[in-house]
């Protein structure tokens, strides 16, 4: 295992310490509670926007704390949902008397821990709404299973909902927009290599020189299918087609196209994927009117990418465009 780390058990803490030192103008890191909180939190009368999940997906979520996006993030151990104590501490820290929105990616661990945290917060008299993202079309959805994973849409949702919350909108409206964004977005990912959880010390799976995994999540896990390596154009087709079909995107519609790197894939390759995606969508007369390309929701140093498409309407576009100032996303200010 080759990583720029000190002790395996200090990875998350050391990284959070660096983050806190680097972005003291935007946020503070509370190492004891293991939370990242917007500097001036709680913002009175503003809905607090809180997310969290395992670490290893950087910049998600800590990198999205700041103005116009998250008010707090709870980072768990690598690939492990944080615990209710963190979520409760963060909820209290961002409660500006307008309630708190919990943004949860659909994984059993995240859902269960946030569930317990919400129960505890409500005992405190804090109004909580929870939204679970589940945009991964690689996974079959069913009432009888754990359901689809929450992946790329989470990043977009956090930005958009954060934009609305900044206007002082009430909790119900913020939660409704969050649910709409989730229902408007779908994602699918693939891996060229596995990644290594520091505490495990070895790659989560073996993949030979000419193979890839299609339909992966963001936890270094294998995907739905192992296939022979294909060209960027073919891979883009494999990822985009199920998304377009599942979203039932029609000619004339407008989307935000998000090409995300899994952590170890350089930008030069992500632009190649974007080029293919643009050709596919243009061919169907679906218009990309906003885009995001880079490493935004990652799986440690895994090589690979995911594609997310988000159907845009005026409201979603407006809050996507709204100013944001966080370590990882910044515009308009």
């Amino acid at each position: 295992m080759k990583k720029l780390i000190n002790k395996v058990e200090d990875v998350v803490n050391d990284s959070l310490a660096g983050m806190g030192a680097a972005h003291a103008n935007l946020l503070r890191v509370d190492l004891e509670s293991q939370i990242v909180v917007r500097k001036n939190a709680p913002v009175q009368s503003k809905v607090g926007i809180l997310s969290g999940g395992g670490s290893g997906h950087e910049p998600m979520h800590g990198g999205y704390v700041g103005i116009g996006m998250l008010d707090a993030a709870c980072p768990g151990a690598i690939f492990t949902s944080p615990v209710p104590d963190q979520m409760l501490a963060a909820t209290r820290a961002v409660n500006g008397q307008a309630g708190v929105l919990h943004i949860i990616k659909n994984y059993t661990g995240d859902v269960l821990n946030f569930e317990m945290a919400a129960e505890l917060a409500e005992l405190d008299g804090i109004k909580i709404e929870s939204v679970v993202t589940n945009d991964d079309v690689a996974v079959q959805d069913s009432l009888y299973t754990a359901g689809r994973r929450g992946v790329g849409v989470t990043v977009l949702l956090e930005k958009i909902v954060g934009g609305l919350a900044e206007t002082g909108a009430p909790l119900e409206q913020v939660a409704a927009l969050a649910r709409k964004v989730n229902s408007h977005g779908r994602s699918m990912g693939m891996a060229l290599t596995a990644c290594t959880v520091p505490a495990a010390g070895e790659p989560t799976f073996d993949l030979s020189e000419d193979e890839m995994e299609i339909g992966i999540g963001i936890h270094g896990e294998p995907g739905r299918r192992r296939l022979k390596l294909a060209s960027a154009a073919q891979i883009t087709e494999m990822l985009a087609t199920p998304i377009i079909e599942d979203l039932e995107l029609k000619a004339g519609e407008q989307v935000l196209a998000f090409v995300n790197g899994m952590g170890g894939t350089p930008l030069i390759e992500l632009y190649i994927i974007y080029d293919s995606l643009n050709r596919i969508l243009t061919g169907k007369n679906i218009r990309i009117v906003r885009n995001l390309i880079g490493n935004y929701i990652t799986s440690l140093e895994m090589a690979g990418c995911s594609i997310t498409l988000l159907r845009l309407d005026d409201e979603i576009t407006r809050y996507w465009d709204a100013p944001v100032y966080t370590p990882a996303l910044r515009w308009g200010m």
Binding site: F79, V83, G109, L112, V139, A146, V197, H219, P222
Partner: protein, 209 residues
């Protein structure tokens, strides 16, 4: 079983989970996210650190302390699941100074009940439930036949081991492994394995008495 036996049980679990950290994490690699061993070890190390304050507690408080400690330190799916399990187990033996055979079975029933209440999994979904359910059945059967605590827990552990192995051919429909669908087949469930370890430790403590 006294509150000192509970400490012995928890101590043994902590030891075994430490020794099996890598093994459990390896089980969690092909069908999960390579953290189950680390998670369980973190949780029971935290429990272990609380022993000084726990020795004087009654059994119910001990078990509830384990529950809240796991909830606060494990994270992932296993934290709330085992956390709720121990909380409910504690609830089932409220104000008991010593656990009889039937108390132990009631404790196991509440333990499993907590996991099912939290996680909504049924038998056959390739989770902890698949180790704990046959274990509970076996324990009940032994109890009905008037067996000793040592025999009850030994049979429960043996049934848990069978149940754990039976997860290998299962197709997962709950937890992370469900994302792999058919590809989850052929791998032993890490959570069923940690459940078996806990029951094995219980049996060992009970046979040592």
């Amino acid at each position: 079983m006294t509150n000192q036996d509970i400490i012995r049980w928890l101590d043994r679990i902590a030891d075994e989970l430490r020794a099996n950290t890598h093994y459990l994490t390896q089980l969690d690699s092909p069908i999960g996210d390579a953290d189950h061993g680390t998670n369980m070890n973190r949780g029971f190390s935290a429990v272990h650190a609380k022993f000084p304050t726990m020795t004087a507690m009654d059994i119910a408080t001990q078990l509830k302390t384990v529950g809240t400690t796991l909830v606060s330190t494990v994270g992932g799916a296993s934290g709330p699941l085992y956390g709720t399990a121990f909380l409910r187990a504690g609830g089932a033996v409220a104000s008991k100074q010593e656990l009889t055979a039937s108390d132990i079975v009631a404790m196991l029933e509440a333990f499993l009940g907590g996991i099912i209440a939290r996680g909504k999994a049924q038998v056959g979904e390739k989770t902890m439930v698949d180790a704990l359910t046959p274990a509970l059945h076996a324990a009940k059967q032994e109890l009905d036949q008037g067996a000793s605590i040592a025999d009850i827990t030994a049979k429960a552990a043996a049934a848990a081991e069978e149940g754990m192995k039976a997860t290998i051919p299962m197709l997962a429909t709950k937890g992370r492994a469900s994302y792999l669908a058919e590809r989850s087949i052929g791998h032993q469930d890490p959570g069923a394995t940690s459940s078996w370890i806990m029951l094995r430790c219980l049996a060992e403590v009970c046979s040592d008495r």
